[in-house]
Structure formats: structure tokens, C-alpha cells
């Protein structure tokens, strides 16, 4: 059978449910994932010879993880699955791939990007010291390597992941120095009506906090980070913050895990030339996408955290919806009632998402207050002062121009980790609204690409 060629990028909750929906419609999709195994970030599968149980690995989400893994295993011989494969560029109708030093292309009629998200980071003075991790990285170390990022870890930032990862570390027996949340309790109270859209998820979140409190972990809200202390030779040795009452407090630790909720991985969408829109509430740019998963580019669909941060359940729905949209646009029959039901559920997820944004606000003010000698771009070692100088003396009030002059965002991560904070620094220094600063244009390759890569002849 020669059906339409559909390529799915990502095997997290969105990608797996998307592939499943396509297979159910009689399609054999090409499924790509950079990782060696399916499951994505949240349901990351451990390497083949690791044997920790689902309850240990995924806690309250064990049943969902198990269901998703089983669903994927059932699909394996009905999809063209390419693990360990990086999608490094997109051109019209073709995805450019790389695996084990060989490059090849996957032509498509529909491309469904389910590329997930990474931590959204706000620089803090001293965050370049060895021992500073993102929350996501700390979680990966635990899930796929069964190890902690330090002997005594402090969790800093804001967002649901802050408490989740801290609780997972606690459960795994790690010593936790403190959990330091920049959001104030009043933010969470104000967000309660929206958060009640998903009472079960809210209850889970509260249970992590309760477990940490029972274990005697210091939990602070409304903190202002001052500095991660340490030195280049020995790495992190502590963290200093101002608490809600304005007092300076220091916590000893040899590792810091930090993050401020998430930012979508949008490079493929960008390379596919999808339009973006500024979300004033979240203070970040998202690709323009309908609840059904249609991007602004014909034939390109976006689902899961890579489009809009709705969490794992929302991602599963979004993956199904994007598949159904692609099928419908290719002229194949789809069940309208099912689409309507999924859309209703997504409405609830969207309400909850906005609750999270309210409960754990991105601390934009920190970028404005960042000391001149604090590093903004860790790849290129550029300080806030150097970035501000390019704004004030060289007239760089736009993100790509500030990058060109200062090199912030020009390193290995291509601004994926410093881009948003850098834009805040620029907006404040130039006294213009963040939206006006714009966003860094995505450029291939999506991740560093070996020059040794050779083109595979098919």
C-alpha cells in the first residue's frame, strides 16, 4: 500500500499517541527520535539492562508510563521507527536526518513535530560553576542513570517540576539542602481557581510539597536568588538567596538544580518556517498553532510541549489531535465526535496551563537586576554587563542584533537556554517591551552536527 507519507518527530506522550492514531487509520508513519528509547522526558525509559520498577521510576504516574510504553511496543512493527536519530533541518517536504554519522532525508506529505520542551532558565550569578544543572537534567540523571547530581542538592526556581524533581530525589534517598521557589504563596493562591480545572494534578503537586515538608526540607517561597557560590576548581559550594522577608540566607550544597517551568523546543517549527506569536502572560514566543495542532504552514503540525506547555496528558491528546488533523487534511476519514471530545478535554488542559503560568510566574525582574558580572550565555561566557553594553553603546535593541554584537545565544546551545533571559536583559536595558525585542531566529542544525557526517546513498 502506498499511502501518504507522514513523519512524526518525537516519541514522548504526544509522539506515541500521534503514531498510534495514524496506525489506527492504516498509515505506516516514519517515527524519529533523538533518544535511544521511547517515552520522552516524563516517561523516559531506562536503558535496557536497568531494572528499577515503574513505581520507583514514575511514582504516581506509573500507570500512565506503563500504558504509554505498552502502546508504543504494540506499534513497533507497524511503524518505521528510527531511534538515536537527529532531525537537523527541514526543507519543504523533506526532513533532514542524521544517525551514527550518516545523513539521509525523509520526504513527507505531513510532518508532525512532537519535540517536547526543555527547562526555561534564568541566569543567576555563579550558575556557570560545575554542579549547576537544570531540573530536567537532574531528573534525567535520576531516571536513566539512577544517580543524583550531587551529595546535597538545592532546588531553585519555580514551576511544578521544582517540587516534582525534589520529591523524586527525596524518594530516591538523596540529601536535599532546600527547595527555593521564586514564586510567592500569593501567586499560587491567585491561581487556584484555574488550577482547580484539574484537581487530581493539583492534589499530586500538593502531595510532593507535603512529603518534602514532612522530611524537614526547608521550603521557601518568594525568594530572590543572589548567587550560587563556589569556584571554578571545586564547583558549587552553596547558594545565597533573599527570603520573602528580605533576609539573606545561605544553604550549603554541592549541586543546584534549577529551572523556571518550561520552554518549547521550537527549532524544527522555526526551520519549517512556522509563524510565532508572543504570549504576554508567559512572556515567551510560541509557534502559532490551533488546538487541533495545525501550524501556519500547510502540512506541518505541532503537538505536545513543543507547541504549548500543557503537560503529559495534554500532550497525549495533542498528539492524537494533530494526527487526526493531518489525516483529515490528506482527505482521509476521521471521527468528528472523537475530535470534538479531545478538543473539550484540551480546553480544560489549557485552563490549567494558564493557572500554572499564574502560580509560578517567570521572574522577569531578575534579568533586570542581574549583576553586570553575572554570566548570561554560558556557552560563550558573556556577562550581563557585556550584553547591556551592546544595547547602550551599539544600539542593539533587537534579539538577533544583540546576538550578532554580543555573542549571547551564539554558542553550542544556540540560545536555547540563554535566549529568553537574554531578551529580558535587552528589553530592560533598552527600555522597550519584551515583545519588541523579538526572538532569536532558529538556524540549523538543531543540535551540533559532526562534519564527519556522510550522506547515505539509498
Amino acid at each position: 500500500m502506498v499511502g501518504p507519507r507522514i513523519v512524526v518527530v518525537g516519541t514522548g506522550p504526544a509522539g506515541v499517541r500521534c503514531a498510534e492514531q495514524l496506525v489506527a487509520a492504516g498509515i505506516r508513519p516514519v517515527v524519529i527520535d533523538e533518544g535511544g528509547r521511547d517515552g520522552g522526558q516524563i516517561y523516559r525509559r531506562q536503558p535496557p539492562n536497568f531494572r528499577r520498577g515503574y513505581a520507583d521510576l514514575y511514582g504516581s504516574e506509573a500507570a500512565k508510563a506503563d500504558a504509554l510504553h505498552r502502546a508504543f511496543d504494540a506499534l513497533r512493527d507497524r511503524i518505521d521507527y528510527h531511534p538515536g536519530t537527529l532531525a537537523w533541518n527541514v526543507t519543504e517536504g523533506e526532513l533532514h536526518l542524521m544517525r551514527d554519522g550518516a545523513a539521509w532525508r525523509a520526504p513527507y506529505d505531513a510532518l508532525i513535530v512532537c519535540a517536547g520542551a526543555t527547562d526555561r532558565l534564568m541566569p543567576v550569578k555563579g550558575w556557570q560553576h560545575a554542579g549547576t544543572y537544570s531540573l530536567g537534567a537532574a531528573q534525567v540523571a535520576l531516571k536513566s542513570q539512577a544517580c543524583s547530581v550531587g551529595r546535597r542538592v538545592v532546588f531553585l526556581g519555580s514551576g511544578p517540576l521544582l517540587y516534582l524533581v525534589a520529591a523524586q530525589y527525596l524518594k530516591a534517598g538523596a540529601a536535599i539542602g532546600a527547595v527555593l521557589d521564586t514564586a510567592r504563596l500569593s501567586d499560587r493562591v491567585a491561581a487556584l481557581p484555574r488550577l482547580l480545572a484539574r484537581p487530581g494534578v493539583l492534589r499530586n503537586g500538593l502531595s510532593y510539597i507535603a512529603a518534602l515538608r514532612r522530611a524537614g526540607v526547608p521550603l521557601l517561597s518568594g525568594v530572590t536568588p543572589v548567587e550560587i557560590t563556589g569556584d571554578a576548581a571545586r564547583g558549587v559550594d552553596g547558594i545565597v538567596v533573599r527570603d520573602g522577608a528580605g533576609r539573606e540566607r545561605r544553604f550549603d550544597c554541592d549541586a543546584v538544580a534549577m529551572g523556571y517551568h518550561l520552554r518549547p523546543e521550537t527549532q524544527l517549527a522555526d526551520l519549517a518556517r512556522c509563524a510565532f506569536r508572543f504570549d504576554a502572560e508567559a512572556r515567551q514566543w510560541f509557534p502559532e498553532v490551533s488546538l487541533e495542532g495545525r501550524s501556519s504552514v500547510k502540512g506541518v503540525y505541532l503537538a505536545g510541549d513543543g507547541a504549548r506547555i500543557l503537560g503529559a496528558d495534554g500532550a497525549e491528546n495533542a498528539g492524537r489531535l494533530a494526527a487526526l488533523s493531518a489525516l483529515a487534511d490528506l482527505g482521509l476519514p476521521v471521527d468528528r465526535a472523537r475530535v470534538a471530545a479531545l478538543l473539550r478535554e484540551q480546553g480544560v488542559m489549557e485552563r490549567f496551563r494558564r493557572g500554572l503560568v499564574r502560580a509560578f510566574p517567570w521572574p522577569a525582574g531578575q534579568a533586570a537586576d542581574l549583576a553586570d558580572d553575572a554570566i548570561v550565555c554560558r556557552c560563550e561566557c558573556i556577562t550581563a554587563g557585556e550584553l547591556r553594553r551592546t544595547v547602550r553603546e551599539m544600539g542593539a535593541a533587537e534579539a538577533n542584533r544583540a546576538k550578532a554584537f554580543s555573542r549571547v545565544g551564539m554558542g553550542r546551545c544556540q540560545g536555547r537556554y540563554c535566549g529568553q533571559a537574554g531578551a529580558e536583559v535587552v528589553a530592560h536595558a533598552a527600555a522597550v517591551p519584551l515583545e519588541q525585542v523579538g526572538r532569536l531566529r532558529g538556524q540549523a542544525p538543531v543540535k551540533p552536527l559532526a562534519i564527519a557526517t556522510r550522506e547515505e546513498t539509498q
Binding site: N89, A103, R105, G395, F405, Q443, P445, A452, R454, E455
Partner: protein
């Protein structure tokens, strides 16, 4: 004079426009420069950064020499060095034929003030141990080098502003027309600027304006393609390029002090002037990988972190359009630099300012006269025929070698 009137009006804030604005101010003329986007965003900000004289069309060497003189005096002139690194430029040959081309060019270039050193055999390996085994010969231009294109035009723009020029960014010129004795530039936002002299320095977009003045030219917009590696310790020294008749062999690279290696060549992608975008073709990146493995196997052990392209205007004969209009008095052109304008930029600004201020240039630019495209039947003589060298002659491969 009102804010919207000046002695000279420049359309286009690339390196050509901004450097001309700077040098015009030094000659005491008031100048307004109009740029559709931000200064230096197009070819001038996206190029490879080669500050190379060798392999140029011989009759362009006087201009290139003058430009190099300015590159060497930059900090003193504009207060910034643009990361100009005079670390030399080598052209290498894989074949005996190409080695012969390098030798011939070295002989010819000497008459134009460019001394090249030919290197082969063991000396070549000893001096440039990173070159691959296929490289047989090299020609070194010791005073050439490379610079940071992202900084260049904006720095000239700031220097021009400090010297009193008026630069309006985000100002798209829809039309330039002769209005009595003055030129009138009408902008998309409704503003109108006037001056008795106008310079079209709008890069790959220059042909439309020259055509509107009755001087159409054969310009094609293309996007040369670049890539940059992750940083490694600084080792390489000179800019390196391959001399070849085969476009796909023409890889070139340079290493910046920070350690990253930048490379380009092997082909150009399509460019979309209306969208103001040139997209990268992934297949070109892979071709560049193959050629880099030949040229410098050690470099080929690295990863690239970014690729990009930019819109450049190429003339049919690969030479720029530079000089006074043949049709309209007071009108000047400096566009279509055909992939080799970065090195020339400061010199072009200096020469155009001289031409506008004095009516003459001390550096010959006749081969770049727009009149060369006038149909043979027209009464205007084509001044481009003053030289003996054909631009397409074997010594000149200006389009392929940055």
C-alpha cells in the same frame, strides 16, 4: 537644511552605504542614509568575512589595495577594529593545472602592487600541517586576513553618525525620482527625503532602482552558504581557500581568535529578495563537509553548530556596478558586488565619497561602470573595455573564491 534634506542621499545601509556616509562626512558633505531594515543585516552582516585581495580581477586590485589600507587603519579611523586579523590568506591547488594558475596570477598581480608567495612541497606541509594530502601548492597573500562581518557595517554606521551623518533605519525607500534639480526618495512610511546627489547602494536590490533610471543591469540574487564549528584552540592562522574550476571544490575556511572555524563555498542557494531571505540548502552543507575533509582533515573532526546564508547580488560578469550613472547626472551606483564586496567595502566608501565630492577618483574604477551593460547600439560607449584582462579570464575567479 531640514532634517529631510542633505547634500547626499544614500539608499541602503550595507557596508557600501555606511562607509560612503562616513567618508562623505569627513569631506564635509551632509548625508542621509536610508535603510529598510537595520544597518548591516544583509550581505554585509552575513558574509564569510574574508579580507582577501588575491584571486581578484586584476583591474580591481588598486581598489582592493586602497581598501586594505583602510582596514589596517580602522581603529584609528572609526574607533573599532572589527576583529580584523591580518593573518594572511592562502589559496591552494589540488592539480598541476591549478598550481599553474596560481603562478600566473602571482606574476600578473605583482604589476598591481600585490606580492604573493608561492609555497610547495615540504615547506607547505611544515608551514600548514593541517592541509590534506591532496593539496599540492599554495599561494600566500601575507597581508590579507579576515574580519567580523557582523560588526562591520554597524560600526561604520555609528562612526558616520558620530561624524554627523543622519541614518534612518527601518525606512524603506519605495522610489527615488528626479524632481527638478534634486532627487526625491519616497519611503514606505510616507516620509520624503531630498538631495541633489543620490547613491544607490542597495546591494542585491540595486538593479530595480537603476532600471527605473533607464539603466537595467543583469543582476541575479543568490545566497552563498556558511557554517561555523564549535570553538577549539586557536591554531589555523590564515584564511584558506581552494582554487578550482569546479564550484563544488571551492571550500574556504578561517578560524577566529575565539576558536570557532567558519567555512563556506561549494555552491550557492537561491535567494528571495522580496522576502529578504536566503535559505540554506542542507545538501550544500553535506558537500562542504566532504570538501573540508579533503582540504583539512583535522578540521573535519569537529561539529558545526550553525549554518546560514545571505542575499548577495551577482552581475553576469561577476564585477560590481560602481561609479556615476550614465543616464542621470548627480546619480551614483555602488551595488552588485558579486560575492567579493566585504574586503572592498571601506575602499568603496572612500572612493565613492571622493567621486561625489570631487568628480574624480584617484583609484581607477572604470571597469565597473554601469555603461558596460548598455546595449551596443546605444551611443554611450562602454568604458569597461579599457583593460586588457577579461573578467572571465583564467586568472580571475572572483565569484567562486571569497
Amino acid at each position: 537644511m531640514s532634517a529631510h534634506t542633505s547634500d547626499v542621499l544614500i539608499v541602503g545601509g550595507g557596508l557600501m552605504g555606511t562607509s560612503t556616509a562616513f567618508f562623505l562626512r569627513r569631506r564635509g558633505m551632509s548625508v542621509t542614509l536610508l535603510e529598510r531594515g537595520l544597518v548591516g543585516q544583509q550581505a554585509s552582516g552575513t558574509n564569510f568575512g574574508n579580507v582577501r585581495r588575491q584571486a581578484r580581477y586584476l583591474l580591481q586590485l588598486p581598489l582592493a589595495n586602497r581598501s586594505l589600507g583602510i582596514w589596517q587603519r580602522l581603529p584609528e579611523l572609526i574607533g573599532e577594529d572589527l576583529e580584523f586579523l591580518p593573518s594572511g590568506h592562502i589559496r591552494v591547488a589540488y592539480t598541476q593545472d591549478q598550481a599553474g594558475v596560481l603562478e600566473q596570477y602571482a606574476r600578473d598581480a605583482r604589476d598591481y602592487g600585490l606580492e604573493l608567495e608561492l609555497i610547495g612541497g615540504a615547506a607547505l606541509r611544515a608551514r600548514y600541517p593541517f592541509l590534506g594530502p591532496e593539496v599540492r601548492a599554495a599561494s600566500l597573500s601575507p597581508h590579507d586576513g579576515h574580519a567580523n562581518p557582523r560588526l562591520a557595517a554597524p560600526a561604520f554606521g555609528r562612526a558616520a553618525i558620530r561624524a554627523g551623518a543622519h541614518i534612518a533605519e527601518n525606512t524603506e525607500v519605495l522610489e527615488v525620482a528626479r524632481d527638478g534639480t534634486a532627487f526625491r526618495a519616497s519611503c514606505a512610511d510616507g516620509r520624503v527625503y531630498r538631495a541633489p546627489v543620490a547613491l544607490i547602494a542597495s546591494g542585491a536590490w540595486g538593479d530595480r532602482m537603476s532600471a527605473a533610471f533607464g539603466e537595467p543591469v543583469p543582476l541575479t540574487a543568490r545566497g552563498p552558504q556558511m557554517a561555523v564549528t564549535e570553538p577549539v584552540p586557536y591554531r589555523i592562522g590564515p584564511t584558506v581557500g581552494v582554487a578550482s574550476q569546479l564550484l563544488q571544490e571551492t571550500i574556504y575556511f578561517r578560524q577566529i581568535k575565539r576558536g570557532n572555524i567558519i567555512f563556506g563555498g561549494c555552491g550557492r542557494g537561491p535567494a528571495y529578495p522580496d522576502l529578504r531571505r536566503a535559505y540554506v540548502l542542507p545538501e550544500h552543507t553535506l558537500t562542504q563537509f566532504d570538501q573540508l575533509k579533503r582540504l583539512a582533515p583535522a578540521v573535519a573532526r569537529l561539529n558545526i553548530i550553525r549554518v546560514w546564508s545571505g542575499i548577495e547580488g551577482y552581475m553576469d560578469d561577476n564585477l560590481p556596478v560602481m561609479g556615476a550613472s550614465r543616464a542621470v547626472s548627480g546619480l551614483y551606483y555602488a551595488f552588485g558586488f558579486s560575492g567579493h564586496g566585504f574586503q572592498l567595502g571601506p575602499g568603496v566608501g572612500d572612493v565613492m565619497a571622493e567621486l561625489i565630492a570631487t568628480g574624480n577618483t584617484s583609484t581607477p574604477i572604470a571597469p565597473f561602470d554601469i555603461g558596460r551593460f548598455a546595449a551596443a547600439s546605444k551611443e554611450l560607449p562602454a568604458r569597461a573595455t579599457t583593460g586588457t584582462q577579461s573578467p572571465a579570464g583564467s586568472a580571475a575567479v572572483p565569484c567562486q573564491q571569497r
